[in-house]
Assembly symmetry: C3
Homo-oligomer: 356 residues x 3
């Protein structure tokens, strides 16, 4: 059941200081770790806790190692990015105990005879796979999922229960779609005539790269004429809305409840805090960080952090200030008026006449 | 495969300038259109692109036609609303290739013997139709949908995969419910007693008119005692929440992530930008446009556009300003104090004494 | 069909003034109630309506009773909390007519042989119950639900159609999960290395107490290493996101579209208005009320109401004020400058020299 530290270093690198034969059976936070756990120090301010940890081994950065060694007696794996190292070790431990769904099609699933399901893929109970759809090697499609006509699901991709993946959309390898995610709904496109809406058919697709995670109940609309595109490594949390024709650059991450309106083009390596709202038809540069609860009304061309939410206060204080904010233009007018009056007072008469 | 321009004009009106026998095989934007496509000019600022388009034909407004004709050599269909015309032509082309699900009940579906499903309707795999439910002619119920007891689904209405439509709710003709939409959940109604909540049974229904579209993972709660009502032609995007007892007027449209609290009465022909939030028990007039990310805390009695989101800035600028905004009432106090002081300086002494 | 007033008072308490043999057949608002209904007065300002109500009986507070008796001729049940009394009477009437799903497993459901389903539980069509899962007495699992491996569903708990409840999560007694709710998704946890995200396995659970209601399409993520916890009596509306490792105290209620970021600790008896957004890793005291559309960026240690949304205005007014708000720090600078200048004017020269 245990893994020797030597094996960890062999798999994931890092410098081992201590006995390579030491075995660990799991990974745990500093304060929770027992004597057969490995733990990790990802923030220097917890150095003191490290000294008191019972963990058999510690993943630590070169910066922290010397100080940690003063108080901590166990083995250390020194590595530049202890948090990433922790993630890999945790994945390894999880893989040892995780349930692996069997290859094959559950008897209660419906797979159209014209669909292609790789024999190594898992198709769970009550799944529907429509004609022309392709499910590639080792893909796992859990109970109740729907895969539309001519859709393509890549190798090792996992749909948790009750995902809806519509016709002609494609998703790459090693992706995770969480329960309730809906990919490839019609975009919200209408022409207005005499106050009545006429639906514009949405004939584009959703095209998703490799290593993309999409959260529970998140929705991604298909493009109107062209495709909605989500590049490699994008991570979307729960309850996010991505509208038609959006393009999300590689390795961009969005926290829960974010909304992105139609045709927004978002760069690579961006991060969006929860409930950030992105307007349609705008462009956001690479490496932009939008704070939670911020409305982005226009394009952002420079990397950096952008924010725009109303600062919370006790309700009574907010009420007093909100009236002023609502008429902030009026307050500025008053200040301008005061500036004029003071100028009139402080400026010598002759100068005033010269100016007029 | 192609459609003659004569046929388009016959179906949808407009004045054709060019050869009625010209055939087009699809519709595409100005810059993408090939020689067998029809394209459209919906915004005068793209007139220049029209001249360079390879499209065999162009849908154009009377206003733009003369200038377009100077550079564009193909056929033109002149019509007052080219965008609506485009929508109709696109619908026509889509209908030629769209998959039409067969009439009848899929063998894996469960339809209660006491439900009435029209023989022309389609019931997909793993669908559940409870007792007393009615599914009318040519309705299409895709895989995994749930239709509750005594619910009614109108003619030609389409539920995409995994829609939940609860007991006793009704929906009219030609509606579209997108995947994951949940109609008829219990409203959020509780009485509080000694700090504990007691559920108030929600016994109203959701009553939906004709030609209504409801987006993916959008939720509409049933009324507490009366009904939640969505009138004809309403268009709701994805991830919208409509609480119990709301009434949404005909031909109102809401973009994604909007929330409407209980008992709000919303007029006809309104539009709501994404993530707009509507308070409960308020009334919104017809023809109101609420900007995205705006909280509507009170009734709106006049048509027009209403806005209220914090203007985004670089985070460091926002931090400096947010402190001031949080205490905007304090700033106004200071300005009032300054006004008094300046008045004291500028007002002749005798006048000041008179005022006191 | 009817219930005698005597029976109501026997079940729910209160002082009956009038004929105990009077029968009522349902409960309705003051203005809608007919002669065989019981109605209720929960707000003194509607006393006038009470006088005109046709209701056979009225639930009324001691405070209102004397005035109501002047104009209203029917029977009265006097009780301290008429709204809670109304809720209980309404529940009683609903229970008389509500459909009770039969015990047993629907033939189209898939229940793993290694799952334990109590014989009094209802498992609806197309449900999946994985190995090791436990469904306790009188639980109702409607069509299309998914219950993961080793998950536990308590007595009398009701999952409406299409709920997803993931592996190892537990939920107590008398809970209601509404359609599309997803419990136990992986939390949004990644380590970043070289601009690429590495998934951190989410091995905690979601642990839900008794008498909890969770709304349609609401998502609750499992903990990363520890558990996400929702205590007894919590009420969550639709489309809410609860991130990993959150802890929500007993009898706290959240309206629709609220988002709670990871590791937030929320007290008991709190209420959150719609679309309130709670930052991660913060603590909120008991008895806090957060107004709708408010972003909570930091811990709240004192009970009370907190607010922070931008006050809505006509768009043109908002545009004028938003520019000022965006540069509120600049406006304060101007005011400070004015204060200095006025001080310079009003302070006698000699004093000014002393200060310097």
């Amino acid at each position: 059941m245990g893994i020797r530290l030597a094996e960890l270093v062999e798999r994931f690198g890092g410098e081992l200081i201590g006995d390579p034969a030491t075995e660990v059976v799991g990974i745990a936070p500093l304060t929770d770790a027992g004597v057969s756990h490995i733990s990790f120090l990802t923030n220097s301010k917890f150095r003191a806790q490290a000294g008191q940890s019972q963990a058999a081994a510690l993943i630590v950065s070169p910066n922290d190692d010397a100080l940690v060694a003063e108080t901590y007696q166990g083995a250390r794996i020194v590595t530049k990015n202890p948090y990433a190292y922790f993630a890999r070790v945790a994945q390894l431990f999880e893989s040892l105990t995780a349930f692996v769904p069997p290859a094959g099609i559950h008897p209660t699933a419906y797979v159209d005879p014209a669909a292609q399901v790789d024999p190594t893929a898992h198709i769970g109970p009550h799944v529907t796979v429509e004609a022309g759809a392709v499910v590639k090697a080792r893909a796992v499609i859990d109970a109740g999922c729907y895969i539309g006509r001519d859709a393509v699901v890549g190798e090792d991709t996992h749909f948790f229960a009750n995902v809806t993946f519509h016709a002609r959309c494609t998703i790459g390898a090693r992706c995770i779609l969480h329960s309730g995610a809906v990919i490839g709904t019609d975009g919200f496109g209408f022409a207005s005539e005499g106050g009545v809406y006429i639906k514009i058919p949405q004939v584009g697709r959703v095209v998703i790269g490799d290593d993309v995670d999409i959260g529970a109940n998140t929705t991604v609309d298909r493009g109107a004429l062209e495709d909605t595109v989500i590049e490699d490594g994008v991570k979307l949390d729960n309850l996010i809305q991505i509208a038609h024709n959006c393009h999300i650059g590689a390795h961009t991450a969005m926290a829960g409840c974010v909304g992105v309106a139609g045709s927004a083009k978002i760069g690579k390596h961006c991060t969006f805090g929860g409930a950030a709202m992105i307007s349609g038809h705008i462009t956001i540069a690479d490496n932009v960080f939008v704070t939670a609860a911020t409305m982005v009304p226009r394009s952002i061309t420079e990397p950096g952090q952008y924010t725009g939410f109303y600062p919370m206060a006790k309700n009574s204080e907010w009420e007093r200030s909100a009236v002023v904010v609502r008429n902030a233009a009026g307050l500025r007018e008053k200040v301008r008026e005061l500036e004029k009056q003071i100028k009139a007072i402080t400026t010598p008469k002759t100068l005033q006449e010269d100016e007029s």
